[in-house]
Assembly symmetry: C2
Homo-oligomer: 400 residues x 2
């Protein structure tokens, strides 16, 4: 039967993630800098095995049963303590556990976005946030960035202009630390400025913080949520990069009223985040497995970043530029304007055996720059990083 | 800050599950027939512990890493075999793994429902399906039931009438076996009739099958998906009742084109179903843990159903009627019309220390019957079943 005639109108706005599509092409002989996968050697597999055995022994039926929509109390308590260690004051009432922070992004759209609602983001910004929200048809307003992240002076002008137009601004979305895709970090001064703007215009701020645990150099920053005096920051984080992405565990920290809305929205999605997985994360935090793991991950990823920066320096032709990320998992590359990285991708994968994510989809613009790409430096081995960048440089050279 | 002014219009259609709300009230001294929780003694906890250790040892980094949106290949293969053992022919291309079947219900709404789209359901029907879909503002058309499930003669008339009106019918939703909330089962003859109607009017059919594994008496029925010749049945099932609900694992079997749409919709929700949990289910099926567990669950639940039927017989006053479910987890009770079960609930819980789900929310009607309730017989112990029904009878007697 012909299903297409039965589809809802919103399906026209569903776009497949280019990253996910890419993963399908990538065969064993391709070195992939696509995706945003952690190095599997950072998963504390043995600890997880011990923890799971303990959780099943100790909580048994409870860990295998349905649980509360907002999360199991034991985990929420541990997350509150963990937040405190990151400068954020929170109690269980401020927390909901989600199926990865992707679910929190979806819930933001579901709870706040009507057609033509305005969302302000860094430009470029996290591609999967845009994909989540597009079905709700918001107007996306991008703020340009420099080496210190979002230009908060431009933010202020834009908010003023949007307000004068009568636009309904729903929230400012930011990945302030080691941003995805650029890797840049917003300094505290700009963070204070961002919050001042939010305060003056009474706006919500969404702080997406998967990478705040991974700062490589001597940068010290304060989480926006830690500076939030009026409950206007909705903070998202995830266990995907510090414990395991396969457990699909994220969490939101916000005012209790906002948490109740998230829980109401989440009921329809999946009733509750897998209970066993929640107990595993609670125990991982309680035992300090995660806290002890973070410095090791930082040390490994710093070396991998340095290896990729060195390889870029060695192999890339003139006219190619890149960011020097202070943390996180990605380097953002700009190639000469005559190259369209989306067009180059198939050749890169099939002929040169190297993959990356074309930058187009990270921009909110209808006609985004076509000469950017995001490179992940955490998943590949050191050898692959060197060889992969060499291959990528060759693919680029062919087109200059 | 005042968040309410920022909420999207659709939040007005989000209703909290009465069942979930109820779970919050229920203190240790209350016997609850609310919820739809399996008896935790049916969870193969020791096997799950062994399986998890094996999966972490064998798949390690893979089980803890991100995975494909449609599900890990090893699980899809096992699910295809399991489907075949239940009469359904399917290959991996026909399957997507979801975060419980709740996620599949949400995706049905997201993919198919525009405002005023028509969904045809049994009346009463599964409350959480209605809750998922309401934000999409469909027109819900309920088909009355008798002791043999949906009245397919009425279905045929209704479809004819709706088509004549020019209504956009998106799908017929049915829980054909041991229906939630009534416990009744649709015989094969009616199943054939339902599919004939779908065929004649070119409609999709959603078969929700969490309870098909739990038929207590000598009823033999064929899954609609097993009778489906033209790929119009979207089949949903779940591991929640045969393995563990805390793992949050469900799956959809449908035509590959439909599966691709489900995967596209699911990307935005959570990228992928927890990878570790998927490997656990794959291994549970491969080892036959689930297949061996089912007969034990059937035997336990049959005895629990019989215990509840006997208690109802013993304690209930005249004027109270109930279904005799051929399987599943629920008995549907009708009390005298002067009693509103929603109004009675607080008294029942706080004074009589017994909980149930008022039937109102299971009906698609704006003004549903007010004198029904759903009782779960799987979670409580035999002692609790007897004592709880005695308490419930007392609460009812006070109001007659």
């Amino acid at each position: 039967m012909d299903v297409s005639k039965l589809l809802a109108g919103r399906t026209a706005y569903m776009r497949s993630s280019e990253i996910r599509e890419l993963l399908k092409w990538v065969t064993a002989d391709v070195i992939s800098f696509g995706g945003g996968m952690p190095d599997p050697s950072t998963f504390p597999t043995e600890d997880i095995a011990k923890i799971t055995a303990y959780v099943l022994e100790t909580y048994g039926g409870k860990a295998l049963q349905y649980g509360p929509t907002d999360g199991v109390p034991e985990l929420k308590e541990e997350l509150a303590k963990f937040a405190e260690s990151n400068g954020i004051k929170a109690s269980s009432d401020n927390i909901i556990v989600t199926v990865g922070s992707q679910e929190a992004l979806e819930l933001l759209g579901r709870l706040f976005l009507d057609e033509s609602s305005v969302v302000i983001t860094e430009n470029p910004t996290y591609i999967a946030a845009l994909q989540s929200w597009r079905v709700y048809r918001p107007r996306l307003v991008g703020i340009p960035m420099d080496d210190h992240g979002m230009r908060t002076d431009v933010l202020e002008e834009q908010v003023k202009r949007l307000r004068a137009e009568g636009a309904k601004i729903k929230f400012i979305y930011t990945v302030p630390t080691a941003q995805n895709p650029t890797g840049v970090t917003l300094p505290d001064e700009r963070r204070r400025h961002l919050l001042e703007v939010a305060e003056r215009y009474d706006l919500l701020v969404v702080e997406d913080d998967p990478y705040g645990y991974f700062i490589f150099d001597n940068t010290v920053v304060t989480r926006l949520k830690a500076m939030d005096k009026s409950g206007r920051v909705i903070y998202l984080s995830t266990a995907s990069k510090i414990f395991s992405p396969g457990l699909r565990l994220g969490w939101v920290i916000a005012e209790p009223e906002i948490i109740r809305w998230f829980a109401l929205g989440k009921q329809a999605l999946n009733l509750n985040t897998p209970t066993l997985n929640q107990y595993m994360l609670a125990e991982g935090l309680r035992r300090g497995v995660i806290q002890r793991n973070i410095p090791n991950i930082v040390s490994l990823y710093k070396r991998k970043r340095d290896a990729m920066l060195a390889a870029l320096e060695t192999y890339m032709p003139k006219g190619v530029a890149w960011t020097r990320p202070s943390g996180g998992m990605f380097i953002w590359v700009r190639v000469p304007e005559k190259i369209d990285t989306k067009e180059m991708l198939q050749d890169a994968v099939t002929k040169y055996k190297v993959a990356y994510v074309p930058g187009h989809g990270f921009f909110v613009d209808e006609n985004p720059p076509r000469n950017t790409m995001r490179l992940n430096f955490t998943y590949s081995s050191f050898e692959q990083i060197d060889e992969g960048i060499r291959r990528l440089a060759n693919a680029i050279k062919e087109r200059i």
